[in-house]
Each structure stands twice: as C-alpha cells, then as structure tokens.
C-alpha cells in the first residue's frame, strides 16, 4: 500500500465509522492503520473534527443549552461595546433574564453590523421588556408600545388593562391600570399611582419601588403595592422580605410574608391579610390566553378566506404541524408544499401558534412555484432576531434569472424587492425595522404589478414605499427559498435569515392597501 492508498483507506473507513455502517473487520483494519502513524491519525482527526463541527452546527443551540443548565445564576447584562459577542446565545430560553439578554445581545449585534451614526447608542436603550399585555389602554399616547417591545426609562402610563414588565435586573412587575410610574432604571422605579405586583428573584434583590412616602427595597420576594391618587399607599408582602426606608434612606420597618402596611400622610398602620386581590402571574397568563383565543378566531376567519381565494398560490400558516414535520403544509389545496431544511419548530405570535425558527446559515424552507405572472403579492409575519449580515432573505428565487423576484431585508432595516430585468433591480424602502423592533412580530409585505409597474412595500399593513417601474418582464419564481438563498456559483455571500416566520402568503394578484391592512389587523398579536 502506498502512502496515498493508506490515507485514502483511512478516509473511507473513518467515514463509515462516523456513519455507523462499518463492519467489524474494517474497524479492526482502521485500528491498525492508525497505530503509531501520525499521518493517518491526523487524517482521522481532521475528518472527525469536521464531522463534529457539522453535528454541532446542525444541532444549533442544543449543545450550549447544556452549559446554561449548570450555571448557578441567571445571566444578564449587556456585552461591553467592542467586546466579541459570545459565539452563541445559549441562556435565552432557559434563564430568568432571558428576554432581556436576547434583546440586548441582538440589539448589540444589530448596531455592530450597521453603519452607526455617531452619538447613537450601542445597544437598545431601555430598562425592561413589555412581556405581556391584556386589554392595555395607553390613553392618548401617540405611539402605544406593543408586546415584546423594550421599554425605555421615563414615564410609563397605563390607562387601563394589565401590563407585565420584565426588568433587565430580573425583577418582574405586573401593573394594573390606571397607573403612572417613572422607570428610573432596571433597578429602581417610582410609583405615582396605581397597583403593582412585584416578583423579585434572587439576582434582582435590592430592586426599589419608591412611593411618595417611602422606598420599598425588595429583599427577594413577592409583594403587592398600591398608591392612590392622593398619595396614600398600601403594601402587602406575599412572601419573603421587604424593607421600607424613608427618603433619607433610614429604615422605617421591615415586613415579612403576610405583613401589610397602610400609609397615609405619614401615618403608618399595620393591616393584616389583603393583597390577594392583586393579579398574580398565573392569572395574567390565563387572561392573556383568553385574549389570544378571541384573536385566534379572528385570524382563522381571515385565513380561511385567503385559502379559498383562487389567486392564492401559497398559504403556509404553520399551524397543526408536528415538531418532527419536515414539510410545510400549503393550506391552498393543490398548491406547492415546502421542504424544511434545518429550521426548527418553535412558538409563533401567540401561545400555541406554530412557527419556524431560522437561525443557522443552513436553515431554509424550499419550494417550487411554477408559472409566469403579471401580478404577485408576498406577505409574511416575521420576527427578526438580528441582522447577521448585509442582506437577509425573506424569499429568494434560486439564482436571479430574468423576471425572478428577490424579497429581502438589509441590515439597515430596509425592505428590498428585486426583479431581475437587466436594469437596476431593486425597489428599496427607507429603514423601517429599527433596533427596538428586534424580537417583535411584524407583518411585512410587498406587491408587484408588472403591467402598471407599481411596486409597494408594506410594514404592519401600511405602505412604506411605493415606486412605479417600467418595462418589467413577466414575473416568475420557480425554485425558491424562504429564509435563505441558493446562489448560482459560490462567490455570493450568505443571506440566511435570523428570526422566526409563522405565516407566509403568495398571491397571484396585487393585494390592495385595504386588504393588506385587514390581513395585518386580523393577524396582529397585539389585538
């Protein structure tokens, strides 16, 4: 056997070993080939290392989860600017400050990737995440916050309904409207009026709620607190320990589980019991789920209408699919299905809603849509987790032949629709996805009418860019991918999506602005 033969033989046997198809005689042969031979060992180790990397890569976050499990504390806080981000973000789903961390890390990555305007923050400014809302009424506020959004420091006013805030310190507050709070930091808030229930796990010990008359320093517990319009307040400790300090920081009193205290114009009075009429987390979840089920029915009605529309080519609703399904079911009878590659099943816009998570550069859903078209609409519910690269795919045809469509987003948050026709292909919106939108569900859509030349980009049911183009060729799709791109040749960079999708529509007509608004409304997770 020559040197090369030996090495080739090692490659073959190693490959069989890794695929668990090696016979006993061959495995003994491999053993002998490796004995005392640095060169064959090197070959063997190279192959196994690539194999391990591929396994690791395809397992996504599965392995790192195991590290997270052994850390004795929740991980929170932001990566220092300029520091290399952790290779993966394992703690997110497991630990208490999950939402906060994910948002911060994503925000950080986003800003790192984008061309920064000097003076703009390096991370998403904010002190908490709005993790749950039930019938929230924000009054006259011009820009009402939505579930999943980061809440900045400052005034937080809720007219009615319930809102759950998860502070980056780890503390959670359920706020019952009407309430007015000042969020000073992730460690300290001021309650001017309203009713709160606070959950302060170990790492958030020391979380402070100020009332007009005292500061409640939480020493690791659960308690409720209310402040009336006249400044009178009541605090009830459900469990654990709360220390009340006066304005000068001197201790007034320490309360334990079951203790209650009423305070009015400086007069303190013990009250027993009480506090049970505050909404706790379980009740909030139940209420939120009830709200979801009403929305779910509304969404279902719209979905059925779209499924029955003869111009519908593709309607993936990601519903009622099993975690092991590797095919996306098209709700449009007779329409193409998509093969799921890599992407994993996860939760969508509301509890119980199915979605696919596109995370690794190999994740994608592939489909084939035959035919040529004069008009097309694409619409999807998407949750962007971060902009990993210059372009991220929403929907790209393989390659980019004449008439083929590319729908993608840039790391500046622009929506881009490309039609290959020899000229400049792209219709680009202004940036419409901002750092604060990461981790939040949004409805993105684009319509094309090649006869009038009209191309419209939508975000959340509203037109964000309109352009009339001339001389567009007949549109076609053919082989295409959701969340990734098969370029022709190898010089084109990766365009994989980092995020989730839980609804995807393609129609052979241009949806009107009214229709688009109504599809957005019916599917909106925020009611």
């Amino acid at each position: 056997m020559t040197r090369k033969d030996r090495l080739d033989r090692v490659s073959l046997l190693t490959s069989q070993l890794l695929d668990e198809v090696i016979a006993a005689a061959e495995s003994a042969e491999l053993n002998e080939l490796l004995r005392g031979d640095p060169e064959t060992c090197e070959r063997y180790l190279d192959l196994v290392e690539s194999h391990a990397l591929l396994l690791h890569e395809h397992a996504g976050d599965l392995l790192p989860l195991e590290i997270a499990g052994l850390l004795p504390f929740p991980v929170h806080g932001e990566p220092a600017p300029g520091k290399k981000a952790l290779p993966f973000r394992p703690w997110g789903p497991v630990l208490a400050a999950a939402a906060a961390l994910t948002l911060i890390v994503n925000g950080y990555l986003l800003w790192k990737g984008a061309d920064r305007v000097p003076g703009e923050p390096l991370h998403v400014p904010g002190v908490a995440v709005l993790s749950r809302l039930v019938d929230a009424d924000w009054g006259a506020s011009g820009n009402p916050p939505a579930e999943g959004e980061t809440v900045p420091a400052g005034v937080f006013r809720l007219e009615a309904g319930l809102a759950q805030l998860e502070f980056f310190s780890g503390a959670t507050l359920i706020v019952e409207g009407p309430a007015e709070l000042h969020l000073d930091s992730e460690w300290k808030i001021r309650c001017e009026s309203g009713r709160l229930r606070a959950f302060v796990p170990e790492p958030a010990r020391g979380f402070v709620i100020e009332t007009p008359e005292y500061r409640a320093v939480d020493l690791g517990t659960e308690f409720s607190l209310s402040v009336g319009r006249g400044g009178e307040s009541e605090v009830h400790v459900v469990d654990g320990e709360v220390r009340l300090d006066n304005r000068e920081g001197e201790e007034i009193r320490t309360l334990f589980g079951g203790d209650g205290l009423r305070s009015s114009s400086g007069v303190l009075e013990s009250v027993n019991g009480g506090g049970s009429d505050f909404i706790d987390r379980r009740q909030l979840l139940n209420l939120a789920n009830a709200g979801s089920s009403i929305r779910y029915r509304e969404w279902l009605t719209t979905r059925n209408t779209v499924a029955a529309d003869p111009t519908t080519l593709v309607l993936f609703d990601f519903e009622n699919q099993e975690p092991w399904d590797r095919q996306l079911v098209n709700q449009r009878p007779g329409g193409p299905q998509a093969a799921i590659i890599g992407a994993r099943w996860t939760e969508g816009r509301w509890p119980g809603k199915g979605a696919l998570e596109f995370k690794r550069i190999t994740d994608r859903a592939r489909l084939h849509v035959p035919g040529t078209f004069d008009t097309l609409s694409f619409a999807a519910w998407v949750r962007i987790e971060g902009f990993d690269r210059w372009l991220s795919s929403l929907f790209l045809t393989d390659g980019f032949e004449t008439g083929e469509v590319h729908w993608q987003i840039s790391n500046q948050g622009e929506l881009i629709l490309g039609i290959s026709d020899g000229g400049p292909p792209n219709t680009i919106s202004v940036p419409v996805i901002h750092p604060g939108d990461l981790g939040k569900w949004m409805h993105l859509a684009v319509t094309i009418d090649r006869l009038t030349g009209l191309v419209r980009h939508y975000r959340d049911g509203e037109i964000v860019k309109e352009e009339t183009r001339s001389g567009l060729p007949p549109l076609q799709i053919g082989n295409a991918e959701i969340g990734n791109w098969q370029a022709e040749g190898s010089t084109n960079p990766i365009r994989s999506l980092n995020g989730r999708i839980d609804e995807f529509l393609i129609l052979n007509r241009a949806l009107t602005p009214e229709e688009m608004a109504s599809i957005h409304r019916a599917g909106s997770p925020n009611g």
Partner: protein
Amino acid sequence: MQRDTESFIELLTGAQSAVFGYAMSLCHDPSLAKDILQETNLTLWRKAGDFEEGTNFTAWACRTAYFHVLNQRRKQSREQLVFDEDVFDYLAERQESRSPDTEDRLEALRACLRTLPPQQRDLIDRRYLPGASVQDIAKDDGKSEGAISQALFRIRAALQKCVEHKMMKEGTA
C-alpha cells in the same frame, strides 16, 4: 456578574466545539460525546479556580475531557470498542498536540459547504439533521446504505480537500 466569571463563561462557551470534537474523535458516538461534553463542562466549572489565565483553555478542557472519555470507555464492553488501548492513547495524544484552530476550521468548512453542488449539500443537510442516520436516508431514497455511505465519503473527501486548501491559504496570507 463578576468580571472573571464572565470571561470564564466566554472561554467555556468558546471551547464547546473543540471539546465535542475531541470527545467524538475518541468515542465517535454523538450522544456519548454529548454526555462527555456535559460532564466535562461541569468539571471545568467546578475547577474554574484551577485555570491559569493566559494558558491554553481548550487544551486544558480537552485534558479534562480525556478522563471522562476514559470513564465512558471503561463502561463499554470490549465488542463496543473500536480502538485498542494503544491506539486510543495515541489518538488522545495526537489530538492534544493539534493546533487550536477550531474557529478557523469552522469558517473554512462553512465556506466549503457553499461550494458543494446542491445535491451534495442537500445530502449533508439531511445527514446532519439531529437524529438523522444513514439508514433512514437510504430508506427514504430507496438506495442501499452502502451507496449513501459511499456518497457521503466522497463529499467528506471533497470538503476535507477544500478545508485544507483554505486553511493553508489563510495560513500563508
């Protein structure tokens, strides 16, 4: 969080691929290798204080993993073992002396994956799906296990060549 805890986590996280690969090379069973990785992580975490800053973390992690592999090996029956003791120890030794360039290798591997023809790329994707096996792929495609294994061997050989080429190019650049 304390500064050194944070940097320790970073080191630990960064060494995951390397330790997993190391365990795979000695026991070549993904689920065993995962167990070993987990045990190794636990040991490293407990012994975090023993780590001397500035020394090679991955090498330390692999030495720790070695003992866990050895433990696993003792639990296995003679029939399950592919390598005899000499070869096993020799491999462990060779592995330790390898350069800690897992990250570069991963980069190269990703780039090489993209150069594969779609069919080969697809086969790799299916092979490395969590829980996938050559047996299942053979059944799905109506082909023999030998045929699938042979196809995978060719792809691995091509990838290997490509990775080596890239690593060499970068090494001299």
